[in-house]
Symmetry: C2
Subunit: 163 residues, 2 copies
Amino acid sequence: MWISGTTQYAIRAVLYVAEYGGAVPLHVDNISHALGVPRNYLSKTLHSLARAGVLRSERGPRGGFQLAELPERLTLARVAAPFDDLAQRHCLLRQQTCGARTACPAHVRWEAISASLTEFFGKTTIADLMRPDSAARVQAALASRARPGARRKRTTTAATRRK
Amino acid sequence: MWISGTTQYAIRAVLYVAEYGGAVPLHVDNISHALGVPRNYLSKTLHSLARAGVLRSERGPRGGFQLAELPERLTLARVAAPFDDLAQRHCLLRQQTCGARTACPAHVRWEAISASLTEFFGKTTIADLMRPDSAARVQAALASRARPGARRKRTTTAATRRK
DNA sequence: TGCTATTATCATGTGAATATGATAAACTCG
DNA sequence: CGAGTTTATCATATTCACATGATAATAGCA
């Protein structure tokens, strides 16, 4: 039961970037050390998050990972989406025929639980999980980065999507 | 996310035995056909359920699987127990240190959902999932089997546990 | 006793999730 | 431009859930 290990890594990583990252990007080494998660595996995971528009990444010296959006807008569902198809698995008994038309025996009873799970992942944000004091710092960091006049660089986000 | 495929097989199998089994035991072939589940894999699963005291099994001609208890007493948690450790996974982020003392960032918010899941599996029984009409038949079947004077045979249940 | 039906068990295979190590690509700055 | 830093990607290994096929053990019965 529950979400995949990769998704758990992802949530913890995004949360870490939210709390400890600021104007300066965090390196994979830093994050993987902090979380006790394999480096290269995390690298792939972070890259997926960048493609999904959750993080932005940059290579080379002064590179690393930052949030792509305010933590208030990053729901757990969005963070989990690249790794776990949270929506697709609503039948407790995995009956293919379980739908509005022909329900599995557990359908009605399970529906309530299932809905509360969907709501949890859809409404809980990274900001909700942050220590209160770090939320303010993030606001400042993102604001300064978005200030016009800053030099544009090529970063990997949802916009810059390569095959 | 959710429970393992084996647990889903198990619930569906126990439910099938409850609804279509009676005084005469059901064969693996019958059940696996009905559920569209691999035969030998199901056999192992059913055997585990017998060891767990959910089913009783018997070999040879006239053998097969029957419920070991009234469906009202078979909670989903009991059926799932041999395959999924539902209780062990309470931390959303899989933090080892997540407990009463040091909670993970999601602890408080996740606790409510987690509790409702635990309650669902602990309180929902096989009887709850049965079609209403089949419940009565099971009552009769189990009662006749328990009637004193019936010859005792060696069956595999929680009591007859072999290493 | 021996034949047959049925579950129990063993040995093995397969695929996906997880992980590792090496190399390529991109960026910074002297 | 070239050296160094960092992410991106590729090739491969490991592990585990799920599955398959063959054989052993047990029970009923002629």
